[in-house]
């Protein structure tokens, strides 16, 4: 795929630090508080809050036309970075996004399992395309339902759908329209081989029309096929930023111990 980038920046991140208050999510109930207090009252009362830095002073600029594959071992902060860019952790002044942003982090997710595929398609469309007029949203639903080839199942309850069927419906809607910055996190997982090939071309078409794309995948094959730039993150920072083959080679070289579990080679 590999479209050519222009010089118009779509995403600017300057000195972004993402950290979590670790102690805040260790204790989750009265029983835990009580046990911690009884077993170690000094630590309970005087231990300072622990902070975990996921990313520290992270900077990145993505230009229009760039499809950036993000590599990193589990827990490196790939999804956290993308969720932060998507504004899911609140607005960050260190991040500037030009144009409309659409981010998808799970393609098998459902809003109301009791409702039919068609009704859920309408809900998902309203969430993802709330900026579009109703007529266009209805067109997206109809077009996506036809694309799924789920036929009579579109009016069956979503709860009886297999994972693959959910992925079909979800991906068909997600790939219906381009946007300024598209964030796709492991979107190709779950669908069968036939639909994967069918949806891949549709998603690639959307990627081509979108301003820029951040793409997370553990599949080198897909990353090679889709991306024209690679960044590798780990150890709380940007470790590599460059071409696709160089990026994959860098990832192999520096994380070879983890690759056995990480990459679908």
């Amino acid at each position: 795929m590999n479209s050519i980038s222009t010089s118009r920046p779509v995403l600017k991140i300057k000195d972004l630090t993402i950290s979590y208050n670790f102690s805040r999510y260790r204790v989750v109930g009265v029983r835990d508080l009580f046990v911690n207090f009884i077993t170690s009252p000094f630590n309970f009362l005087f231990t300072r809050q622990q902070k975990i830095d996921v990313l520290k002073d992270f900077s990145l600029e993505v230009q229009e036309g760039e499809i950036v594959g993000i590599l990193g071992i589990n827990g490196a902060g790939k999804t956290t970075l993308c969720r932060t860019i998507a504004g899911m952790y609140g607005t960050r002044k260190e991040i500037e996004v030009e144009g409309l942003l659409r981010a998808i982090f799970d393609t098998a997710s459902v809003v109301q399992p009791e409702l039919s595929g068609r009704e859920n398609a309408w809900i998902i469309t309203n969430i993802l395309y709330s900026h579009l007029p109703k007529k266009e949203r209805l067109e997206i639903v109809e077009d996506s339902l036809n694309f799924t080839e789920l036929d009579q199942f579109v009016d069956s309850p979503f709860k009886i759908y297999s994972k693959g069927m959910k992925v079909r419906l979800f991906l068909s809607i997600v790939s219906a329209r381009p946007c300024g910055l598209l964030i796709l996190d492991e979107v190709f997982n779950g669908a069968d081989r036939y639909f994967n090939e069918k949806i891949s071309s549709r998603i690639r078409a959307v990627i081509k029309e979108s301003g820029a794309v951040l793409f997370i995948s553990h599949s080198e094959e897909i990353i090679r096929d889709v991306c024209n730039r690679i960044i590798v993150i780990g150890k709380q920072k940007l470790l590599f930023d460059g071409g696709v083959e160089e990026g994959i080679a860098y990832y192999h070289k520096n994380f070879s111990m983890e690759l056995g579990n990480e990459l679908e080679l």
Binding site: Y20, N21, R24, Y25, V28, G29, V30, R83, A86, G87, M88, Y89, G90, L101, R102, A103, I104, F105, D106, T107, S109, V110, V111, Q112, P113, E114, L115, E119, W122, I123, I124, N126, I127, L128, S130, H131, P157
Partner: protein, 254 residues
């Protein structure tokens, strides 16, 4: 995402919630009416005809207290774990978590307002209502909704970090049901216990209904409405501050 888009998402989630709840049930949407009407009838039967409480215009008294209470109670108990039950969707889309709570409260508000209006119209046959009191209703309903949304947002956020919240909330609501003058009038409470009514925020939100519909008195209604506004605004500030403080960790903990 602009406010207009957030409202579209919220209304979509509200309608989905309403459709999903009664899907596959025999009575379907009739439950919206049936549940509060049964509660209303049972309370009327027990307290007016069996215990024979001597309360003037008891049906109006009950309408102005019990139905708002059911709205408050249902909104809180059914939404307090929303961030956890909606985990999958919250982690997948850019749904603003507040839109989830707002949609749950809006759903419960519709469930409250339909039987409320139905009973109000039925009672209008025999009862008279002060027009100035009725004119206050939109404002009272607004403060009630804001107050309930704020309480629910605060408790749902707290639930993410402190999983006992839902159990404590259920317990407190059960206790408050008896401590709040809903099915008995306030003057039945001895003076030394009136403080529990004064510090009860749910009563502060419900009290203007009672004055506007049951025992209209303009200065008292104005004061009660101002207190209701203060409670709603206070909880809104508390909920938004807590939300802002914990938002960074919310997605990790759900």
């Amino acid at each position: 995402m602009s406010l207009k888009h957030q409202l579209l998402v919220t209304s979509t989630l509200t309608l989905a919630e309403m459709k999903a709840r009664y899907r596959n049930t025999v009575a379907g949407v009739v439950w919206v009416m049936l549940n509060p009407l049964i509660m209303f009838s049972v309370h009327a039967l027990i307290f007016k005809y069996i215990l024979k409480l001597d309360i003037d215009r008891y049906f109006v008294f009950l309408l102005s207290g019990l139905l708002p209470w059911i709205f408050v109670s249902n909104s809180i108990t059914q939404s307090v774990h929303s961030f956890l039950t909606m985990r999958e969707s919250l982690l997948s889309f850019q749904i603003h978590p507040m839109a989830v709570i707002l949609s749950k409260c809006a759903d419960q508000f519709v469930n409250f307002i339909i039987p409320f209006l139905f009973l109000f119209v039925v009672l209008m046959e025999k009862e008279t209502f002060n027009p100035v009191g009725l004119a206050f209703l939109p404002l009272i309903l607004l403060f009630l909704f804001v107050g309930v949304f704020s309480m629910t947002l605060f408790l749902a956020t707290l639930q993410v970090f402190f999983r006992d919240t839902q159990y404590i909330t259920n317990f407190v609501l059960n206790v408050l049901f008896f401590l709040t003058p809903i099915f008995y009038p306030r003057h039945m409470i001895p003076d030394q216990y009136q403080i529990f009514v004064d510090i009860n925020p749910i009563f502060a939100l419900i009290n203007p209904f009672k004055i506007a519909l049951w025992q209209y008195n303009l200065p008292v209604l104005t004061e009660a409405t101002l207190i209701s506004f203060g409670v709603a605004a206070g909880f809104l500030i508390l909920a938004l501050s807590f939300w802002k403080w914990t938002r960074n960790e919310l997605y990790i903990n759900i």
